[in-house]
């Protein structure tokens, strides 16, 4: 107490540093540059061939807090009767901040019986994931999830 009282300047600086530290902590986890977001949007648009991508029907099931980015289980379920007349043709998963936007693309058909696929992926950092499904009637549906990654997949040889 005596120290801070006799050195008011030091005390102020300490408070400033504390405040700065707090600011760093509250920085949003998904502070993203527009370039990255549009990159993802462009990848999705290219997959859909310029057709509108609706929200719904698709559920991208992935943990929102990932401990280890080296192997992250992901499941995509699509609400579809999977009949010859109405089925899912293709499913794709995209990411926002890995070196490459695509993760995996799946081709399905009425013989699948159930539109549900799972795999395990790598995540380089906290980011947004998008699953897109193409239906037999030519429409596209999507679902996006924001995930926080604690331990990133090894990229820089760290």
């Amino acid at each position: 107490m005596r120290m801070t009282a006799s050195f008011p300047a030091l005390d102020t600086r300490r408070r400033t540093l504390l405040a700065a530290g707090t600011l760093l902590l509250v920085r949003p986890a998904f502070a993203q540059t527009p370039a990255e977001t549009s990159d993802l949007a462009a990848a999705v648009a290219a997959y859909a061939g310029g057709k509108p991508v609706n929200t719904g029907k698709v559920v991208l099931d992935v943990a929102t807090l990932v401990e280890n980015g080296n192997t992250v289980p992901v499941t995509v379920n699509v609400a579809s009767p999977m009949s010859a007349a109405d089925h899912v043709v293709a499913i794709a998963i995209f990411n926002e901040r890995n070196p490459q936007r695509e993760i995996a693309k799946f081709a399905l058909g009425p013989r699948a019986g159930k539109a549900s696929v799972s795999t395990r992926m790598r995540l380089a950092t906290s980011q947004k994931l998008v699953a897109v499904a193409q239906m037999s009637d030519g429409t596209y549906w999507s679902h996006s999830v924001n995930v926080v990654v604690a331990l990133a997949a090894c990229l820089e040889g760290e």
Binding site: T75, E102, A104, F106, R111, A112, V117, R122, L155, G157
Partner: protein, 107 residues
Amino acid sequence: MARALITAPASAKRGEVIEIRALLQHPMETGFRPGDDGKIQARDIVTSFTCTYDGAPVFAAELFAAVAANPYLSFHTVATATGTLKFDWIGDNGFTHSETHALTVTG
């Protein structure tokens, strides 16, 4: 030689939707990662997977570098007739691997 593990029922009722899980032993080197010498290691991934049921394709996947090492895939198919499920993986540097699974359909 790579090893693969297929988990699927040996028998199913006609019309039943069965889950098939395929796991392949493969490093899936991304091509973005430096090795011990500091140089970027060449990409070596599995790029394609297909599953055919008595010769007819039921599922296919195109894989990219973001798929984790030892690629795992789970999907479904309708048990239509007793037959063979064939699984084929194709990858960089001429990698190929095939597995088969016999499925008995009853009822």
